[in-house]
């Protein structure tokens, strides 16, 4: 099993990188709007999940996290439609990755509840799933950074107009 300290460190690192991606895309004048929406929702939901996960039981833990991923996709889809912003290819890929994560959560919930009552026998499955999700989140962060169009010319253009 992964050390709890290491897991907490990884979670903090991911939250921090989400925040940096958000700042980069906010400060960029020629920003990709759909990517910006996706980053903001990802940041908000990852912060909310920290509080929601504390209240969940044995049965609803993985279901709640799966629902969180799906609701993230739904919310960002609705905002795209309301603000009349076209989807970019990277955001669609991010949606697909989030749906894959939610599917993996659902599969692990099924294995956990139906076959075993305790986690001791299927720890390797849970570990594999956690590694998979962490890898996919890392890919997501890379996509967010790629979508925010990091260029030194247009970078901090929005902020420089203030001063």
């Amino acid at each position: 099993m992964i050390n709890l300290e290491l897991a907490h460190f990884i979670a903090k690192f991911y939250l921090f990188s989400y925040f940096i991606c958000f700042l980069i895309s906010f400060s960029n004048k020629h920003n990709n709007k759909s990517n910006f929406i996706a980053i903001t929702f990802a940041l908000v939901f990852s912060l909310l999940n920290q509080y929601i996960k504390q209240t969940l039981d044995f049965y609803t833990f993985y279901l709640g996290s799966a629902a969180g991923c799906l609701i993230y996709v739904l919310f960002s889809l609705i905002t795209h439609l309301v603000m009349k912003i076209k989807h970019v290819r990277t955001t669609v890929i991010i949606y697909v990755l989030y749906i894959l994560i939610s599917l993996s959560y659902l599969i692990i919930h099924k294995v956990r509840v139906v076959i075993f009552d305790s986690d001791e026998h299927i720890l390797w499955v849970i570990n594999a799933q956690s590694i998979f999700t962490l890898a996919v989140y890392l890919i997501n962060i890379c996509l967010f950074a790629y979508g925010s169009k990091i260029l030194w010319k247009s970078q901090f253009g929005r902020l420089s107009s203030l001063f």
């Binding site: 279901l63 629902a67 889809l77 989807h87 659902l106």
Partner: protein, 85 residues
């Protein structure tokens, strides 16, 4: 509870595909291209504008016909068998 989330998965997938199709077809998202086109046509001198638009229409109709041809089912016609019938 579990079934609800599986239905949510399906619902999200359907909404995703619907929105992607809507964005492809609706003119709301092609506003920039339409504006560009409008100014392009406006900049042509009025003597040649109508002939230019007719030419463009012909090309558009041709393109639509060609696109419908590619979507046809490619049934193999064997002449010898047709003659027997």
């Amino acid at each position: 509870m579990e079934i609800a989330i599986w239905t949510l998965v399906l619902f999200v997938l359907v909404v995703l595909f619907k929105t992607l199709k809507y964005e492809k077809t609706s003119a709301v998202y092609n506003e920039k291209q339409l504006l560009k086109r409008y100014f392009e046509i406006k900049s042509i001198s009025p003597d040649y504008r109508i002939s230019y638009l007719r030419d463009w229409e012909k090309h558009a109709i041709k393109a639509i016909e060609q696109s419908s041809e590619s979507q046809k089912n490619r049934v193999v016609h064997l002449k010898s068998i047709d003659n027997i019938k």
